[in-house]
Symmetry: C2
Subunit: 199 residues, 2 copies
């Protein structure tokens, strides 16, 4: 043990975080030494508060401090359109884009038999029930264009067969600002398939 005990313990804590190795954890622990007392107290309390306050929204499974999340509570949002996302982080990506005024459904994962994640392990049944019970006009599938994302989209589409709801999928194509030279052939193919008449 090269550092005093409490310092080593803090390093170990930082190392539990994703992408933080030994060197980086040391650097972060040193940074804490330079923090003001109030900052450290706030940080310490913030950790506990997140663990005790953050639950899942009963409607859409988004992160929430109450039974229902801020989006589901918001009366100005169109409750007839549900955007289906993999997780709460992806939900925020759409919120930051400020393009969507409907509500969400957070699956908390994607179907991935190889990793032992089956349809019943993610919130697909909850989505189907929502669509049956509420008056939903459109379901937008906004999952990553990976094998798992495609599988999950297909599965959801199948589960919703026969229900009076329009199912759409977000567009795959060339990202804005990207240099085509560096894109993979799959993305190029998708962009080609998804071409639209110039208006």
């Amino acid at each position: 043990m090269n550092y005093p005990k409490s310092f080593e313990e803090l390093i170990e804590c930082f190392k539990l975080l994703p992408g933080i190795g030994e060197k980086n954890a040391e650097r972060l622990a040193f940074a804490i030494l330079t923090f003001e007392q109030e900052q450290v107290d706030f940080f310490s309390d913030a950790l506990k508060r997140v663990k005790s306050n953050i639950k899942k929204c009963e409607i859409c499974n988004n992160l929430s401090e109450d039974k229902t999340c801020l989006i589901c509570k918001d009366k100005s949002r169109n409750k007839e359109i549900i955007c289906v996302v993999e997780n709460a982080k992806n939900l925020v990506l759409f919120e930051k884009a400020k393009i969507f005024n409907g509500v969400y459904h957070v699956l908390d994962g994607l179907i991935s038999p190889l990793n032992g994640i089956n349809p019943e392990d993610i919130k697909i049944n909850e989505l189907v029930n929502r669509i049956k019970e509420e008056k939903i006009k459109e379901v937008i599938l906004a999952l990553n264009p990976s094998v798992e994302g495609e599988t999950t989209s297909l599965y959801i589409k199948k589960m919703l067969e026969g229900l009076d709801v329009s199912i759409t999928k977000i567009a795959a194509g060339i990202p804005v600002g990207a240099d085509m030279e560096y894109l993979d052939p799959m993305t190029i193919a998708r962009a080609m398939e998804g071409r639209k008449e110039v208006s």
Copy 2:
């Protein structure tokens, strides 16, 4: 605000850490949600403990939970050789190399007039007093081979003039395992200057 309040607050805390930007802070906050309750409590307490327990060693200025650090307390260490390092992090680098059995002196910075750091802002006087008061045979200057490091080494050498103590400096040269092709001319020059007869 896209996340619940307590979650946003934790993200802000992570963003205070060096090298952690918005995206990374979000990722770390999501990781905390997956932690066990005990892990979060331990992390939260570790932050507070570090801030309250970690002081500076009265002798060498190393991190310590007591008045004197574990190294200064250790009776098996040679108290006649002092290795002068920039900070507690660099001290640990030498400890990990397991090559040195003397004691240390942590300057807590390097002289850098451009950044407003003058000799009196770092622990140079404390070092000089130690050498005058204790029976020190050798002072090893183990500072970065940067402009600031060299300036600080020169300053310390001057301050110790006339005292009966040998002053040495760690070797600059080719790092073990490095490919010379990628080294700067300064390092090559230092390696050349520091050449030794093959024994």
